[in-house]
């Protein structure tokens, strides 16, 4: 156990004991869901079902059902794909990068952030599998031996790098999440009394016992997985950005894309974590663990990444002018003043101006304001991807191919469906899984608990 400076604010409020933490984390699992949960679940499930309908319709009639057209062949599908993958990045960042930096405040939020990562990657996967047009042939994305004259996918193409990056990212995230979950499932197994629940959780807990040898291996595995996930998370969104950056289209063909996409991803991911955590702490009464200080820390990450995104936007504009390439200049002029300028200015307002409001301490410690702003940021980040993709494809090199774009109800339906799916999964998760990594949280109780810190101050050490 390490003593912690009194200057640091406590991360666990009130006079909690180890038993209290167990009770608070298990309460949503053992207890009955309240009305608010059922209302949210019904809305999300309805959205999800509508999405499944639109998805089936697309598979039935083909992607002609979408608004995408000859010029604008990537539109809502890839916008949504990049948006969801970006949202996923915060989970890995919180659990991996903050672990490497020994940030204790990650412990209250990492479990849910990782769950969010996995659900967001699932949503993203829907768009990549559908956008190929014939999803039943998607196995051709993988380098499988075949009878077509042994034709292999092109390993020089960022689109194939993406297949490998996303598959690695999804599976490694699930494994990282599950390994952390095992001790917490064991805690639930040892606590629940209903025989059916006991059986399910003992199956899920893999027989965990918490011996010193196992804990020492557990910590080593967590550390190495964090070390592997950190470059992985940067590589994933860098590769996603290369899907655009390695093309020759003005507006896409820029070397700034990888860092710009990665910081944008972390920016939107943290906003989504905030949206979810502010609901979770209220619905499940976890205010003692997910404190205002946690929210403030996340808001600081939002200022930093939001500012990087802002600088990237301005750099793009500057480079378009400074490069002297008239196509590049036109692409940006078209984004800012063309027919879809409204989208550009929504993006600019939501992503560049709004996070700067968090410089005021009063605003970044206000939960209501944070909640609203977290949604604003995600709207902005959706528009960022839309602005990069659609206006660019509407105005490419050949004016005779210039085009416009309107989404159809199917585009909207699938997008709403993925949002529904995301929240459906998250709501189910929050009632059956330990939403906070309680084992890790117990390990910081002595150093970072409010009452424990007070006692340490009184005893003068």
């Amino acid at each position: 156990m390490h003593a912690e400076s009194q200057i640091r604010e406590p991360l666990i409020l009130g006079n909690k004991t180890y038993r209290n933490i167990t009770d608070d984390i298990i309460a949503p699992i053992e207890g009955k869901a309240n009305r608010l949960w059922y209302i949210l679940f019904t809305i999300s499930a309805l959205g999800f079902m509508w999405g499944i309908g639109c998805l089936s319709y697309t598979i039935g009639v083909g992607i002609g059902a979408w608004g995408s057209n000859n010029g604008v062949d990537w539109a809502w599908d890839i916008t949504n794909f990049v948006w969801w993958i970006g949202i996923g990045h915060a989970g890995t960042l919180i659990s991996a990068v903050l672990l490497l930096f020994r940030q204790k405040w990650r412990m209250a939020i990492n479990r849910s952030a990782e769950a969010m990562t996995i659900f967001a990657v699932l949503c993203a996967a829907i768009f990549v599998t559908l956008h190929t047009g014939r999803p039943w042939l998607d196995y051709m994305l993988f380098p499988l031996p075949n009878q077509f004259g042994s034709i292999w996918p092109n390993f020089n193409s960022p689109l194939l790098w993406d297949v490998f990056a996303i598959s690695t990212y999804a599976t490694v995230s699930i494994v990282f999440w599950y390994i952390g979950l095992i001790p917490d499932f064991a805690m639930i197994r040892d606590r629940v009394v209903k025989p059916k629940m006991k059986k399910i959780y003992s199956l899920l807990s893999f027989g965990w016992g918490g011996s010193a040898r196992h804990w020492s291996r557990f910590e080593e595995v967590s550390l190495v997985l964090a070390g592997l996930s950190t470059p992985l998370v940067f590589s994933v969104h860098s590769i996603v950005s290369m899907d655009f950056a390695t093309s020759i289209l003005p507006g896409w063909h820029t070397t700034i894309f990888p860092p710009y996409f990665v910081s944008g991803a972390v920016f939107s991911g943290f906003a989504m974590v905030l949206t979810l955590m502010l609901i979770v702490r209220k619905v499940y009464k976890l205010e003692a663990y997910i404190t205002v200080k946690h929210v403030e820390y996340m808001n600081i990450v939002i200022i930093v990444t939001g500012s990087i995104v802002g600088v990237a936007y301005l750099t793009e504009l500057f480079m378009a002018w400074y490069s002297g390439v008239e196509w590049e200049q036109y692409a940006f002029l078209n984004r800012a003043t063309g027919p879809m300028a409204w989208a550009y200015w929504i993006m600019m307002t939501c992503n560049v101006i709004s996070p700067q409001l968090f410089w005021f301490k009063k605003l970044r410690t206000s939960l209501a304001f944070t909640f609203v702003l977290s949604i604003v940021v995600n709207i902005g980040m959706w528009f960022e991807r839309f602005v990069i993709i659609v206006p660019t494809l509407c105005r490419t090199y050949l004016p005779s191919t210039w085009n416009s774009y309107h989404p159809t109800f199917v585009d909207v339906g699938i997008f709403v469906g993925t949002i529904g799916m995301f929240f459906t999964l998250f709501l189910l998760y929050s009632r059956t899984f330990p939403v906070i990594a309680q084992a890790e949280l117990k390990s910081i109780l002595k150093a970072s608990g409010e009452e424990q810190k007070k006692l340490a101050a009184e005893h003068g050490h």
Partner: protein, 182 residues
């Protein structure tokens, strides 16, 4: 033939448990295992748990992944069907290395992470359906336990130490008969 007592020393806090472990070890008693609700930092050297070699495994798995990815891309792009895509022919691996770096990296991470996770689960015998390994279910909640297997003489000494260090309970859970092997 040796008869040993199985002793569970239960604590409600980790600090006295660590103190008790130190005392037990210094009086020559072997600590079989310690069960705790969360990882106790610094307990491994006290109770004599060697550092795990899982990280070395991960490194080897990573190198394997890198090797497999290189072999795959060399075979598919260079050897089996070297296509000329966009005026960029795939005639040698060396000239195409920049394009192969991302997948080499992903495969390294893929194999290192999954290989290590599987090794960890199997090494700890954590498999679906396995029996709970903690002898007392309270140790995943808020209790800390020292698990001992000792002969009569040592049992008395251990009992004394455990109680004086503030163990809440010292439970005797039957005996263990160890047959001489030769």
């Amino acid at each position: 033939m040796i008869t040993k007592n199985i002793i569970h020393g239960i604590f409600s806090d980790e600090v006295p448990l660590i103190e008790a472990c130190k005392k037990l070890r210094s009086s020559g008693i072997r600590i079989n295992e310690v069960y705790t609700p969360f990882p106790l930092h610094g307990i491994d050297p006290i109770i004599g748990v060697p550092r795990t070699r899982l990280a070395i495994c991960a490194f080897i798995y990573g190198l394997t992944g890198l090797g497999l990815a290189t072999l795959m891309m060399w075979y598919m792009m260079i050897s089996d069907w070297n296509a000329d895509i966009g005026g960029k022919p795939n005639w040698s691996y060396y000239f195409n290395i920049p394009a192969f770096i991302p997948i080499s990296f992903e495969a390294t991470v893929f194999c290192a992470a999954h290989g290590m996770a599987l090794t960890y689960l199997l090494r700890c015998m954590l498999v679906p359906g396995a029996r709970p390994k903690n002898p007392d279910p309270r140790t995943t909640d808020d209790k800390f336990m020292i698990y001992l297997e000792l002969n009569e003489e040592q049992s008395k000494k251990a009992d004394e130490i455990l109680r004086s260090e503030g163990a809440e309970e010292v439970n005797y859970k039957g005996t263990l008969v160890i047959e001489a092997k030769y």
